[in-house]
Symmetry: C2
Subunit: 267 residues, 2 copies
C-alpha cells in the first residue's frame, strides 16, 4: 500500500482518464517504469475530484517485483512529478481493498477572508470577501455529526446504493493570520483613506471526519456552512436540510481548490 | 503608494526587464490600462529576486488621473493576474521615495523538514530532509542582530556604497505541523516496515527585520543558519563570519522560493 500526497491543481482528479493528467495515471507510469511490469492495476482509496488536494490518499497494487516494500517511497518519488509524493509504503494482505475496509477519512476545507485575496493562499484556500459568523457555522456543523442520509449533500447523478454515512466530527477551526510584527508608524495613520475595511485576514478550516463521503459531499457541506456563516441560511435549518434529502435545499458546491484529503485511516 | 502582494513563482523578479514577466511589468500594464497615461514611472520599494514572494511590497508613481487613491485597489486588481494583488493604496507626498525613507523591512524564510517534501508546501517553503538543531540556529541568529558590515552575507558583484545594515531582530519560529487528528489503528502498527524515519514534519520560519538588506542577504543568512542547524557551522562561528567580511566564509544562498517580503513599514 502506498500513501500519497499531492497538489491537485494541475490534475483532472485521481481517477485515470484518456488524455488529461491524473494522479492515478502518474502513479501507474512511475510504477510501470520502476517494476517493468505492464498492466499493473491500482486500487485507490479516495477518487478525489479535479483540483482537490491530498496529504494522505492511499492505493494498493499487486506486483511480482522483488523490491522491498519500504523502498517504493524513494524509488517512486524519483519517477513522479514534484507535486505528487509517496509518503509511506508497506506490504498488505493480498486481499486488502481500501474501499471495502472500515476506514476513517478526514477532509479539510480551507477558507480565507479579508479585504483582498492573499496570493500566497489562493492555491489552497477559497477566498471570500464576506465576514463570517463562526459560532453560527459551529452550531450548524453540530447537526452534520452523526449517522444521516446525506442525499441533500450529494451531487446529482451519483450512483450509490445507500446515501447513509456516519460523520464522527465536523469542527470549525480559526487561525487568525499571525501578524505579530509590530507595525511601525506607517503612512497609513495620516494618508490612508482606504480604511473602510480593516478586518484582519482570517483563516477558517472546516475539518470533517467520517466513515465515507458521497460525491461532492464535503464541498456541499462547506458551501452550506459558508451560507450559514454569511447569514443566508439559519444554523438550525441545517437539520431540516438533512431531513429533506433534497440537494436543492443545501448550499452551493464550494470550489475544489479549498479541499484537501488530510488523513485516510483504517480501523 | 500601492502595497502589493504576489506569488513570485512565475515571475523573473520585481524589476522590469525586456522579455520575461516581472511584477513591475504587470503593475505598469495595469496602471497604463487604468489611467490611459503612457510613460508612468514606478518607484519600487524592494526589488525582489526571481521566485521570491511578497505579502507587502510597495511602489509609488505620479499620475494626473482623477481616480480617488483608495479606488486603485479594486480597479488594478481587476486588471492584474490573480497572483498579484494590490492590498492597499493611498496618496503620498509627491517627494516621497520609498527607498530614500527610513523603513523597516521584515522578511521570512520558510523551511519544512521531514521524511518527504510536502507537495502542499513546496511552492512557498524550502524542503530539507535533515533534522535541524533549533537552539543552535537561535544562538547563531543572535549574532546577526545589530549594526554590522554584512559583506560576508552579500552576493558578489553587488554595487553599493556601504554594506553596513542594522538588523533589529532575527527569530527562529517553529510550527510543528498541527496533526491533532487521532490516528486510528492503522496498518502501520503491524505491516509498516518503513519506520526508520518517524520524525514529524516541522515548519521553521526565520523572521528577520532590518533597516535594509544587501543583495541575497536574507537568503545567505538562511543558508548559513541551516548549516548551523545541521551542525556544519558552529553557532559562535557566525560572529567570526560577520567579522571576516568574506562571502566565502558564510553558507550557501538558500533557494528563492522560501523567501517572502512580509512587511514594508516606514518609520
Amino acid at each position: 500500500m502506498l500513501h500519497v500526497a499531492y497538489d491537485g491543481t494541475k490534475y483532472h482528479g485521481y481517477q485515470i482518464q484518456d488524455g488529461p493528467d491524473t494522479i492515478e495515471g502518474e502513479l501507474l507510469k512511475a510504477l510501470t517504469s520502476l517494476t517493468s511490469e505492464s498492466g499493473i492495476e491500482l486500487i485507490g482509496g479516495s477518487r478525489t475530484d479535479a483540483g482537490v488536494h491530498a496529504l494522505d490518499n492511499v492505493c494498493v497494487f499487486d506486483t511480482e517485483a522483488s523490491i522491498p516494500p519500504e523502498k517504493y517511497i524513494f524509488a517512486l518519488n524519483q519517477r513522479l512529478p514534484e507535486d505528487i509524493r509517496i509518503t509511506e509504503s508497506c506490504e498488505v494482505d493480498p486481499a486488502f481493498h481500501p474501499r471495502h475496509c472500515d476506514s476513517v477519512k478526514t477532509y479539510e476545507y480551507h477558507i480565507h477572508t479579508g479585504k483582498v485575496p492573499n496570493p500566497l493562499k489562493s492555491r489552497y484556500s477559497y477566498y471570500t470577501y464576506y465576514s463570517t459568523n463562526i459560532q453560527a457555522m459551529r452550531d450548524a456543523a453540530a447537526y452534520i455529526v452523526g449517522e444521516h442520509d446525506f442525499s441533500a449533500f450529494c451531487a446529482a447523478g451519483a450512483q450509490v446504493d445507500s446515501k447513509i454515512r456516519t460523520i464522527y466530527s465536523c469542527d470549525i477551526i480559526i487561525n487568525p493570520t499571525s501578524d505579530d510584527i509590530p507595525k511601525a508608524n506607517s503612512e497609513s495613520s495620516s494618508d490612508d483613506i482606504t480604511g473602510t475595511d480593516s478586518r484582519p485576514e482570517t483563516d477558517i478550516i472546516i475539518r470533517i471526519s467520517g466513515n465515507g463521503f458521497l460525491y461532492n459531499m464535503v464541498r456541499i457541506i462547506a458551501g452550506t456552512l459558508l451560507e450559514v456563516g454569511r447569514g443566508h441560511i439559519a444554523s438550525e435549518d441545517v437539520k431540516d436540510i438533512i431531513a429533506s434529502m433534497d440537494r436543492t435545499k443545501a448550499g452551493p458546491t464550494a470550489p475544489a481548490l479549498g479541499l484537501v484529503l488530510k488523513k485516510y485511516d483504517f480501523v
